[in-house]
């Protein structure tokens, strides 16, 4: 009922924030191998796909899309676009809609967090997210007998009926924080904390860092002329910067174009 004072509130958070973690993804390097998706699932105890799952019912905190330039034959070119929670920094669409504060922006890190244990499963946040980066547990998670031994102890598996999404591997952030504290440092130093997808990318296409640290790769990428963010015009200030030297690739940032009646069950 009381809408947030959209401008001021996040900005205040921003000032308080110790760091604003962000990512840069070089689309000219992504081979679409899927290592990031798998590493993410392993890290965050996302179960194997249920037999009934489809590309629209599955849980893929980070998902690599194959996008083409719409041309045919020789003129056709494709690019692989990894899409994960864009960690919007200004009136984050999913935060304000959640009826019970299960979604929050961590002022210390700028990371948009999701608390499955408080989630009602109303899926309003999913309707609110323009990046389709939120996923609903349509089934109870299931692992083949014995495989639960390989679960990551730092992340609790989620039950059926709640929403989840990328949180930049919060477990890893926590671990890094503890290591830093053990080493007597108040802050995590650059490189001490990277999400699983970043670590697993064989071509180093995904880079991670603190946007407040001008030297960090995302901060540098943010200034690059060939960098862009998805649906920037919405004004939600995403913290994921994509990069490509190819002009047509940078078009994926824009709003969708009307259909051209192509038939493709894969997309």
């Amino acid at each position: 009922m009381i809408a947030p004072n959209s401008k001021s509130q996040p900005s205040r958070e921003r000032q308080r924030a110790v760091s604003r973690y962000g990512m840069s993804i070089d689309l000219d390097r992504c081979t679409g191998c899927g290592a990031c998706m798998v590493a993410c699932a392993v890290e965050n105890n996302v179960p194997p796909a249920h037999e009934g799952a489809t590309a629209r019912k599955g849980i893929t905190w980070i998902r690599v899309f194959k996008v083409d330039n719409g041309e045919e034959g020789a003129a056709r070119r494709s690019v692989f676009v990894p899409v994960l929670c864009q960690q919007c920094g200004e009136d984050t669409p999913c935060v304000h809609v959640c009826p019970q504060q299960a979604v929050e922006v961590d002022p210390a890190t700028g990371i948009v967090g999701q608390m499955p244990e408080r989630c009602l499963g109303c899926r309003y946040c999913m309707a609110a997210c323009p990046y389709h980066a939120r996923f609903f547990n349509w089934w109870d998670p299931q692992w083949p007998a014995g495989m639960e031994k390989t679960l990551n102890p730092d992340v609790a598996p989620r039950m059926r009926g709640v929403v989840e999404k990328c949180n930049f591997c919060h477990g890893r952030w926590h671990a890094a924080k503890e290591r830093a504290a053990a080493a007597g440092k108040s802050e995590i130093e650059a490189g001490a904390y990277v999400p699983a997808c970043v670590e697993s990318c064989p071509t180093g296409a995904i880079r991670f860092g603190d946007l407040k640290d001008a030297a960090s790769e995302p901060a540098v990428a943010a200034k690059d002329a060939h960098s862009f963010r998805l649906l920037e015009k919405l004004g939600t200030e995403p913290k994921i910067y994509y990069h490509s030297k190819r002009d047509w690739v940078r078009q994926v940032a824009a709003a969708p174009k009307p259909p051209n009646g192509k038939e493709n069950a894969r997309g």
């Binding site: 070119r77 692989f80 697993s200 038939e263 493709n264």
Partner: protein, 602 residues
């Protein structure tokens, strides 16, 4: 004053009402909700001491170095090892899920080794002249491979079979290459060692000649969409421009394109030509481009004990006369390049041959063998990994077990050695000692990321560190030599002639292995559309219509070797006249490289 029951009730009621205004009851309900996170069926991850352990991935010939994050000794996630000279710390999607393979639902749990041994003994006894006992080794070059060869040398008419070595066993030196022409080779997607390829990528220009836009084509500097099956023609024209016109016809490229490409290859060398399965034309082109000694090099064999030298030669299946093998052992415990069962089957004797497969799942040859004996699977097994194709120097690394294999697993080499009446011994350590004796090369240890010359290391220390995650790299000392004969030997990898019966050419979209992947890989093809599920084919809607399966989700794939059910996906990006197939055991049984096929309604 005296209390009535009413007072007490009032007191209790008041108390209850009051309690409702305190956080306590509500806190309880909240917690109840959080407890419900672990309602039945939701597993609790085990806790324990967190350690890092190292090994080498045995899931493909690349054998990348692996750092395993272990909780109380149990690996919960895998990652690459930064600074590794071979794999550069880059993992792949399949490798990242390796630690889950031991718990694969389709894992083979028990077999009947005794019966198998008896059957083998019987068969070997009545093995007549002209008949043979053979071992088919999918991953040649390992210590166990040598054991097999010794064993086959020990038995009369023993034969040691292996898939044809890519480039006849020669190695590729990408670091030297300035221009790479790939005729459908998945250079950036499963070919060679990912880390090594990506590291070298910046220094060469990649030209991908391939009918459809594969992952490699998408990232190549230039993609030449050629007609399906015209790779050979293109290679030929590039070697000898006179054939350019016909090549232009075959490939659908313009003559100019071809000639320009030819010039580029010669002008901006050193160049390298790779093809999906070594096309003689491609090899010849390499020869013409003077790749030998530059981008194509002969890699010295990893040292072996002299005692091993008396071993059976390595032969390809095609070289064995048909219906001549009475006893066949197939070792697929370590995934390697796959040979269609149809090709193997016709080599077996007619009257009940004995086929013993060593596998960790029933998905491979086990489906056809009389006996399938369960083996350990990575990361349970202990095996060395032969040098990768893109490693010019000889290497030696061991995939040391991170998890103890379950009981009643069979060790293929021990079994085969026993059948041949010899003792396998600890081949792995013997070879390590042989390497150490050679005193060449350096040892890179993963835990500390240090490289140490071999001569500064004691034999047992060498052996110890190999088992704790290390790799030995030979000094790359490769003298320039003339074009080796084995690279000119004709291959049976010619594209089958265009036929009306089988109009479609099969191209493999995913790595060509029959071995199972972790259930988690389902994320890649079920929860997203990034890769195709095993035994699935993508084809152009027109092709589908022509084949009378328009709109169908399932169909039957048919080749001259047989038929199997597949899923079909209409995709306009696949050119008409070809099938983009994701390998699966069933498909691999009937499809080799350049197989022609057709799809019919299920």
């Amino acid at each position: 004053m005296q209390r009535t029951r009413r007072d007490i009730l009032l007191f209790m009621g008041g108390g209850a009402a009051g309690a409702m205004l305190t956080p306590a009851p509500w806190r309880l309900v909240t917690d109840a909700a959080i407890w419900s996170e672990n309602w039945p069926g939701i597993p609790r991850p085990a806790r324990g001491e967190i350690t890092a352990r190292y090994t080498n991935c045995a899931l493909c010939p690349a054998g990348c170095a692996v750092r395993a994050r272990c909780v109380a000794g149990q690996p919960v996630s895998l990652a690459g090892v930064a600074g590794n000279p071979l794999s550069q710390g880059a993992p792949c999607a399949f490798g990242l899920t390796g630690h889950q393979l031991p718990y694969h639902p389709q894992r083979l749990k028990q077999g009947t080794p005794e019966e198998a041994a008896a059957a083998v003994r019987g068969a070997m006894a009545k093995c007549g002249p002209g008949e043979s006992v053979a071992v088919l080794d999918l991953a040649p070059g390992r210590a166990s491979s040598w054991t097999y060869r010794r064993a086959m040398a020990a038995v009369a008419n023993g034969v040691y079979l292996a898939p044809p070595r890519p480039l006849g066993g020669a190695a590729v030196n990408l670091a030297k290459a300035r221009t790479v022409l790939s005729l459908g080779a998945p250079v950036l997607d499963g070919w060679g060692t990912p880390g090594n390829v990506h590291a070298a990528r910046a220094n060469f220009r990649l030209i991908q000649a391939e009918p459809w836009e594969s992952r490699t084509a998408a990232l190549a500097d230039e993609w030449l969409p050629i007609r399906p099956g015209s790779e050979a023609a293109l290679a030929l024209a590039l070697k000898d421009p006179k054939t350019a016109p016909s090549a232009a016809q075959a490939t659908g490229l313009t003559e100019k394109q071809i000639l320009d490409l030819a010039n580029e290859l010669t002008a901006s060398g050193p160049a390298l030509v790779l093809s999906a399965d070594d096309l003689p034309e491609a090899l010849a082109l390499n020869q013409a481009l003077g790749a030998w000694g530059q981008t194509l090099v002969a890699r010295p064999e990893v040292p072996v004990p002299d005692a091993w030298k008396k071993a059976a030669p390595e032969r390809v299946v095609a070289s064995v006369p048909d219906s001549s093998i009475r006893v066949l052992f197939i070792d697929e415990s370590v995934p390697g390049s796959h040979i269609p069962w149809s090709a193997v089957e016709k080599k077996l004797v007619r009257d009940n041959p004995v086929v013993v497969a060593f596998a960790w799942s029933l998905e491979g040859y086990g489906r056809h063998a009389q006996f399938t004996l369960p083996t350990a699977v990575y990361p349970e097994l202990t095996s060395d990994i032969p040098p990768a194709i893109d490693s010019p120097a000889a290497t030696f690394r061991i995939s040391a077990p991170l998890v103890a294999p379950p009981a009643r697993m069979t060790d293929p080499s021990a079994f085969i050695a026993k059948a041949a009446g010899m003792d396998a011994g600890n081949a792995l350590q013997e070879r390590a000692d042989a390497i150490h004796k050679s005193g060449r090369g350096t040892l890179f240890t993963y835990a500390d990321g240090k490289s140490t010359p071999l001569k500064d290391i004691k034999p047992d220390a060498f052996w110890k560190s190999l088992n704790e995650g290390a790799c030995w790299v030979d000094d790359a000392a490769v003298g320039r030599a003339s074009w080796p004969a084995f690279l000119s030997s004709p291959h049976d990898t010619q594209a089958e002639p265009q036929s009306t019966a089988f109009p479609l050419l099969v191209a493999f979209a995913e790595p060509r292995t029959a071995s199972l992947t972790s259930p988690l890989m389902s994320k890649l093809y079920q929860d997203s559309d990034l890769r195709m599920a095993p035994n699935t084919a993508a084809l152009h809607p027109d092709t589908a219509r022509a084949s009378g399966i328009a709109g169908a989700a399932r169909a039957v794939l048919e080749t001259q070797y047989g038929r199997c059910a597949i899923g079909v996906i209409p995709d306009e990006s696949v050119p008409p006249g070809m099938l983009e197939v994701a390998a699966g055991p069933e498909v691999l049984d009937i499809c080799g490289a350049f197989t022609r096929a057709k799809v019919v309604a299920a």
